[in-house]
């Protein structure tokens, strides 16, 4: 029995309960009150039953098509969109969507993606990027069949043959593409993530939305980078108090904005400024003393200054030809970012008191490193021996004390200061001392 036959022959109750009719949701056991307007308007409250003698009762308008047939109706031309296929997918439907968009067999894109994945990994990146950027096909969208009229086997054979011939070119191109795409993909991901944190707009939407959010996030990253560099430079140049006041003012503005008008865009720059200045302060970086490499070779104890400073660079103090009298001789070194190098004769005992924010301390054969590195090594010496009291403060970098400049390039492991050495061990380099009381933390 067809639906029309049911509609014409069945009783009224069966017609109202036909499953093909669009259901009207009403509370069970309750009749809609005629006085209560419904969503369909006041006329919907009246029973739609026609009079039995009305000849139009058997000429009801055709029922609306069932939902599964609705998309088949012509709805006018729609713009062709690139969507990930739901019906023709192996992983994410990217190649199926591309095949439908370009009206070619998706196997072509699959072979190309695999080939690019094998020759440098660009295929993986491209696929992941497409997986993120190309929106998924909606549930109700119709899947178009793949291109017809061509032999799939023949197509695969031709494509494989072309790939075999072009393999060397693809290898180079894939490596180059991967070298470009890896940083690009990382940058886009970082931009989307930053913009997600700043604005709350997650990585959803179409490709245009993703690109816009990535661009805005990259812009925020660049802005924060500039702020970080500026804040670090200002703090290292002696403007730490100013930077601290700016950070506090930013915090007050954000706090006041919470009650008046939120200024969330200020949060990330303020935190960036605070952390960059804080890192400079924690490392103890001081740009006093200038920038560049400096080397000093004092001829006598009179030429040897008590203090040497350098902001950024390599500071080298060469004492091999310096006439140093017996007794204690202070040497203060301040380096912001870089390395402080001291070259001493074999007959000089070296006392080390060093603080390195981030880096390493190497004194002859012993070394240590890490963050917040502190070394205190105070060996005794006989009265007729020169004892050099090295007091070094390095922000980011290293302090190196050697007998031979060639040892600066030595990259092998030394004996750690944390070994609790009470006596100088053979070959520790500080042989002019009587003993050693090294203390270090790092």
């Amino acid at each position: 029995m067809t639906r029309d036959e049911e509609r014409q022959d069945g009783p009224e109750e069966e017609r109202e309960g036909n499953a093909d009719e669009p259901a009207r949701e009403e509370p069970v056991g309750q009749e809609p009150s005629p006085e209560e307007p419904t969503a369909e308007g006041p006329t919907a409250a009246t029973p739609p039953e026609p009079a039995p003698e009305d000849p139009r009762a058997s000429q009801d308008p055709p029922p609306p098509p069932p939902p599964d047939q609705a998309p088949t109706q012509p709805l006018g031309p729609e713009p062709r969109r690139l969507l990930r296929s739901r019906s023709n997918r192996v992983i994410g439907g990217v190649c199926g969507g591309l095949g439908r968009y370009f009206n070619v067999d998706p196997i072509l894109f699959r072979i190309g993606a695999i080939a690019l994945a094998l020759v440098g990994g660009a295929g993986v990146l491209l696929y992941l990027a497409a997986l993120v950027l190309i929106p998924n096909e909606t549930q109700g969208a119709a899947a178009q069949p793949p291109a017809e009229g061509r032999s799939r086997a023949l197509t695969i054979a031709v494509v494989v043959l072309v790939l075999l011939v072009a393999w060397p070119f693809l290898l180079g191109g894939g490596v180059i593409a991967a070298a470009v795409l890896f940083p690009l993909a990382f940058l886009v991901a970082a931009g989307v993530l930053v913009w997600w944190i700043v604005s709350g707009e997650g990585p959803s939407g179409d490709a245009g939305d993703i690109a816009r959010r990535a661009a805005l996030g990259i812009g925020v990253l660049i802005l924060c980078g500039v702020i970080a560099l500026g804040g670090a430079w200002a703090a290292a140049a002696g403007g730490g108090i100013v930077v601290g006041v700016v950070v506090v003012a930013s915090g007050l503005a954000i706090l006041a904005g919470a009650f008046l008008k939120p200024v969330r865009w200020l949060i990330l720059p303020a935190v960036t400024l605070a952390l960059s200045a804080g890192a400079v302060a924690a490392a103890g970086i001081d740009l006093d003393g200038g920038v560049g490499d400096k080397t000093y070779r004092p001829a006598s104890a009179i030429d040897l200054r008590d203090r040497y400073e350098l902001g950024i660079g390599e500071l080298e103090i060469d004492l091999r030809d310096t006439d140093l009298p017996a007794g204690d001789r202070p040497l203060r070194l301040d380096v912001g970012v870089g390395e402080a190098r001291v070259i001493v004769p074999e007959d000089v005992c070296v006392v080390t008191d060093a603080d390195v924010g981030l880096g390493a301390v190497r004194v002859f054969e012993r070394d240590t490193g890490g963050i917040d590195v502190g070394v205190l090594d105070e060996p005794d010496a006989s009265p007729d021996t020169t004892r050099l009291m090295v007091n070094a403060d390095v922000g980011v970098g290293a302090l190196s004390v050697v007998h031979d400049p060639a040892d600066f390039d030595y990259g092998g492991p030394g004996r750690d200061f944390d070994g609790g050495l009470e006596e100088p061990f053979p070959g520790d380099g500080n042989a002019a001392c009587l003993d050693t009381g090294a203390r270090a933390n790092g």
Binding site: V247, V248, S250, G251, A258, I267, V271, A279, A281, I371
Partner: protein, 62 residues
């Protein structure tokens, strides 16, 4: 009962307090009250960033 729309922005409150704390640490270091090191800065920074992200995430959920 009407819903109040002038409630303070909780993530901004948390972020403001966190930034204020970071600024206070900077000023205390500059004035010599404390000696800032990476061992002190790292937990302070992580706590500030974590509080901001947590407040933002919870506000987004509600």
């Amino acid at each position: 009962m009407p819903v109040r729309t002038d409630r303070p922005d909780v993530p901004s409150i948390v972020a403001g307090i966190a930034v204020l704390a970071l600024g206070a640490v900077l000023l205390l270091d500059e004035t010599g009250v404390i000696e800032l090191s990476f061992g002190l800065l790292a937990p302070v920074a992580c706590a500030a960033a974590g509080a901001i992200l947590l407040a933002s995430g919870l506000a987004r959920r509600t």
